[in-house]
Symmetry: C6
Amino acid sequence: MTQNADQYRVRKEPYYRAVQDEIELYRAGYEARIPMMLKGPTGCGKSRFVEHMAWKLNRPLITIACNEDMTASDLVGRYLLDKDGTRWQDGPLTVAARIGAICYLDEIVEARQDTIVVIHPLTDHRRVLPLEKKGELVEAHPDFQIVISYNPGYQSLMKDLKQSTKQRFGALDFDYPKPDIEAEIVSHEAGVDKDTAEKLVQIAQKARNLKGHGLDEGLSTRLLVYAGKLIAKGVDARAACTMTLVNPITDDVDMRDALDTVVKTFF
Amino acid sequence: MTQNADQYRVRKEPYYRAVQDEIELYRAGYEARIPMMLKGPTGCGKSRFVEHMAWKLNRPLITIACNEDMTASDLVGRYLLDKDGTRWQDGPLTVAARIGAICYLDEIVEARQDTIVVIHPLTDHRRVLPLEKKGELVEAHPDFQIVISYNPGYQSLMKDLKQSTKQRFGALDFDYPKPDIEAEIVSHEAGVDKDTAEKLVQIAQKARNLKGHGLDEGLSTRLLVYAGKLIAKGVDARAACTMTLVNPITDDVDMRDALDTVVKTFF
Amino acid sequence: MTQNADQYRVRKEPYYRAVQDEIELYRAGYEARIPMMLKGPTGCGKSRFVEHMAWKLNRPLITIACNEDMTASDLVGRYLLDKDGTRWQDGPLTVAARIGAICYLDEIVEARQDTIVVIHPLTDHRRVLPLEKKGELVEAHPDFQIVISYNPGYQSLMKDLKQSTKQRFGALDFDYPKPDIEAEIVSHEAGVDKDTAEKLVQIAQKARNLKGHGLDEGLSTRLLVYAGKLIAKGVDARAACTMTLVNPITDDVDMRDALDTVVKTFF
Amino acid sequence: MTQNADQYRVRKEPYYRAVQDEIELYRAGYEARIPMMLKGPTGCGKSRFVEHMAWKLNRPLITIACNEDMTASDLVGRYLLDKDGTRWQDGPLTVAARIGAICYLDEIVEARQDTIVVIHPLTDHRRVLPLEKKGELVEAHPDFQIVISYNPGYQSLMKDLKQSTKQRFGALDFDYPKPDIEAEIVSHEAGVDKDTAEKLVQIAQKARNLKGHGLDEGLSTRLLVYAGKLIAKGVDARAACTMTLVNPITDDVDMRDALDTVVKTFF
Amino acid sequence: MTQNADQYRVRKEPYYRAVQDEIELYRAGYEARIPMMLKGPTGCGKSRFVEHMAWKLNRPLITIACNEDMTASDLVGRYLLDKDGTRWQDGPLTVAARIGAICYLDEIVEARQDTIVVIHPLTDHRRVLPLEKKGELVEAHPDFQIVISYNPGYQSLMKDLKQSTKQRFGALDFDYPKPDIEAEIVSHEAGVDKDTAEKLVQIAQKARNLKGHGLDEGLSTRLLVYAGKLIAKGVDARAACTMTLVNPITDDVDMRDALDTVVKTFF
Amino acid sequence: MTQNADQYRVRKEPYYRAVQDEIELYRAGYEARIPMMLKGPTGCGKSRFVEHMAWKLNRPLITIACNEDMTASDLVGRYLLDKDGTRWQDGPLTVAARIGAICYLDEIVEARQDTIVVIHPLTDHRRVLPLEKKGELVEAHPDFQIVISYNPGYQSLMKDLKQSTKQRFGALDFDYPKPDIEAEIVSHEAGVDKDTAEKLVQIAQKARNLKGHGLDEGLSTRLLVYAGKLIAKGVDARAACTMTLVNPITDDVDMRDALDTVVKTFF
């Protein structure tokens, strides 16, 4: 076997602050080997959660960042040319199925839904992956599980999962953490004091109210951590917020003014 | 021959609970070597049925998960480069034709209909497959049969079979099983008691009435089995239902409320 | 030469029941080496007719199932990699031109019309095929002829032959056979008695009247043969008709009722 | 040099009946090495004319049937893999430029106009062809000339030559020959007597009046020759005309009646 | 180095008749190594001008005829397979950057603007070309310059240069030469007397007034030279004009009449 | 390792005139390893700024000129064929991640946003790059940072960054420098006296007011430098301005008149 499961081990516990009972529900889903779908906005912690669970369950984790160029061959494998001719190279999905990894398809709606159907035989009672180009039928390792992430805010007529895909998954909802928990996260990740973290979270909450009223998406926890890190480096808090919480997400002059005003209320 | 028919044998009897006379009709169709089309919604048991019939008829089964990237070469075969130059590799359709397998094209409308025309010469009196790139005319093994599955709910102007394809098949209709049979299936598959299974089926029936009134598709039997499995693992029944019967299929807030209310009526 | 004409011989006389003077007209067309176009609906016997004529004229027959993925190279040939480097492999059109076969392009409108123009130099006074990638000009064997099939019902703005293609062919019209002839065919092919065959033909005639009033296409002779075969296997006649004459061609509930009613009139 | 000019010689004089002063004008254009454009409807003799002129001027003739798949590499050349690695293979345009052939791009509007721009440097004062992939600048042989054919009836917003292409050519107009000349051609080519040929031409003239009133294109001389050949084989004149002058060009019932009526007036 | 600068030398002085101060302005632009854009209609002498300047400045000239198929690799280079494996082959842009040539991208709007962005790093202060596939950063030779040609008449929403491309160039406007200069050019190039040349120029001027009133583009100087050459070969002047000034540029009957009338005024 | 970090060093200090506190903010962002987004119009100095910062921070700089043809493989790497078979070649993004370079994705909106998602795992807490085709998970060097440039003026429905991409970056706004600073830059770069530089800047300011009123984009500092260089070569100031500030940016006659009038006010 050309693949080594060890390189996919999550070596140290990733920081994850549970918001509700998501850890227990996921664990039960994993035990029943139900494919899982994590729903929620950009930067709210879905990827971190999967890493945390892979670490907790002690399973290798193979992450695939989905994109529209991704073909079925990129998932499943292909023939490569060697000095002795062609040899087959398993794709990451096949590797995961063989070694019993958790296979995490990140931002699945970015992939063409016509590509995604290759996971179907792995996500029902069959738990197999036909390698049609190779003429092999891979039976998934008993520990193998598929997890996908999905941002409902992106859902559109063109970019939505097919029902025949959706109905293969159990789903957990994610959202921005509650203020106190989010402040705890920002403080821990950015290395700023509680007070600063709380102010950043309050700014985020006000900005999130603008979603749908000029902003396409709420401010992510990740951007709050960026702001905190800059402040921890000694950057002026207002400049840090403009650079991380205002400039990246909008070019609209009025929206920038509104956000800058919010920032000035706190710093 | 590079392909081994044995790996395509269905080794143990797949659980299948007959709903009507579909087993007898299929058997007669197979005996007359009529290509078959299985119509019905997502997750109602079409794939399981084909496996069951392949086991019953003792034929190898080659399943092809259709997708839009699938080319005629993926079905028929292609030249690969070897240390002695190129060598031909049969595709799964060609293998099936040679070894006399049942070739199951799952979710056929996902494939481009222009690709699907390559099956035409195998589905009329000729029963041949011209390998144009290789310059060989494969005559199908006497036991060979093509089966396709088809979800009429997906039927659209863009994604429908051509009449010249449709008129090559006999067709069997599938639907969700009747309540008592479905409860039996859920109980058997998920390992829950009859009472829980019946409640889950009742929830499904109410949800299926919402199809076309906010839901694109009815709740599949598969999701009921998921819910049952989580309950069997000790997960709270309401949480299990939210995770498997509500969250995966809709992000609409009102629809979720409606479904949650249904769940609460039973658990 | 890598191609063997013998494998393209039609070995035994294919059953074909002449409807009018199509055999004589085709023979005269072949003798004048006029390229021929066979027009008519799905499943009315065009492919069978070409096989029959190839057998009668004792010419090899090379059939190409046209599809939208088909490139000029698929028809004409391409370079393959060998242990001594690349070698040229003739495509089926080139093989047919070299060995003097009848080359049958089935369902030509499925191919992109921009691909089809490669047959032009073979279908006028030049009777040559330039292999541009190889730098060779193939002169067609004196016995070579091109035949295409064409379903006028599919004709659309997007999918129609160019006039510069059409005006290279003589054309024969095909339609469903007259009732007595069709019954004879169904009886012969399906192995049912005359009476059953006649009933099936009567059902077909009623269904064909629905073309354009809810059905896209008339019921093909092929489906009648399927129904007959199932009845010959002992399947209940109504179930056999539903499976082969109703379910495959429509999912519309009203249309299915109408067709089922027709079936019940006869069985 | 891997290409042999001899295979592109037109070996015997192609039958061509001059209609006006096109032979003299073409000869003068060739002597001034002006690239030439032949305009006219399908099947009126443009290709035959070029062959005739190549024979008269004693130049090799390389014909390229343009199609939308044609890439710049198909015209110019590409690297092929040999046992010693890649080697360059000239495309037909490059061969023509090297050996001083007349290069005939048939039905040029079928090619994408973005491909056609590769001929530009060969059609102005530079008379060179840059092989960018090979890093060679081919200077055209002094006898080299480019000729293109062009059907103005196909001209559309999507499929028309760019002005920057058009303004590189002198242009000769072609049309169906005058009745007496066309009858002479049909009689000579089909081997029918003058009287039959004249009747066929009269049918064609009536049909050509329907262009734009239900027919997309006039009846070509080629189809008249087909009709004549069938009659010469003993086919009933009416059946021969239906098969070659009516069926190939329209499926419209009224139009077919109108054309059949015309046929019956003469036969 | 596999490329020889000598083959790109312009060996003898190309005939070019200066219209204004374009030679001095270009020379100053070249000395400041400012990338240059030559704007003007088809066939007015832009390509000739670049050749002339390359000769005057004694720089090699590498011309690239832009087309929509052109990829970044066609410009920059690619790996080819050799008997020892792959080897890198510089594309024409890379060659030009290495040897210090003038690189002339002819009809740049034909290229996809997304391809054209690869020239950006060569057209600002960096003067480098990153060969991303090879992992090499080519610094342009001090004598290297990019020149592009551009027909504003083609400018459209779909086919226009990006502002981020435009703002990298100085631009010179070209137009048809003034009558006396154009007559001089036609007389010199076609070998006709002054009087004939003047008549041809007068015809062109009248035709150019029709631009936008039925003609898409004015008559190019190149076509006048064609007409002159035919007249010099003894072709009747009216026939020569029809063949070169009327037929190539329009199929509209009224427009042709108008142009023919203009021709008859002078010949 | 096949890549040498040294070739990516910026060898001498690039001239950069700070406009505000952008140097300090960028430095803090780099220290916190926050991915950075530089926003601003064409030719205002974003690329120069990155070079300057790479020099100041003493990091290798790998620049990628984004274009629509760019695939994930162009960024990440691919297998190449060697005499011993295929070998992996890192793409520029992978090289940058391994050697700890600043990776600058210039004009990121030119790339398809579906390609850009491959940078996501490098721009959150994971700082890894999965090489799916190779089966390797690259952990970014601690010094690695991603910087992108972005022209908000190009922002459109079709060409805008996804929110899930935007929310991974801190952002700095760039604009044309203030008049005195811009004049200083023009004078330094073009080698003209202060007075000429100031006049050029005043012309630019007037032209920039026309943005949105006939001009798509303001005049870049780069074009002012071009004008200055030509004047420094002795070209008449008006001719120099027409060639660099008027002709390249518009073909509209009225707009050109307006701009020429502005030029004449100063020169």
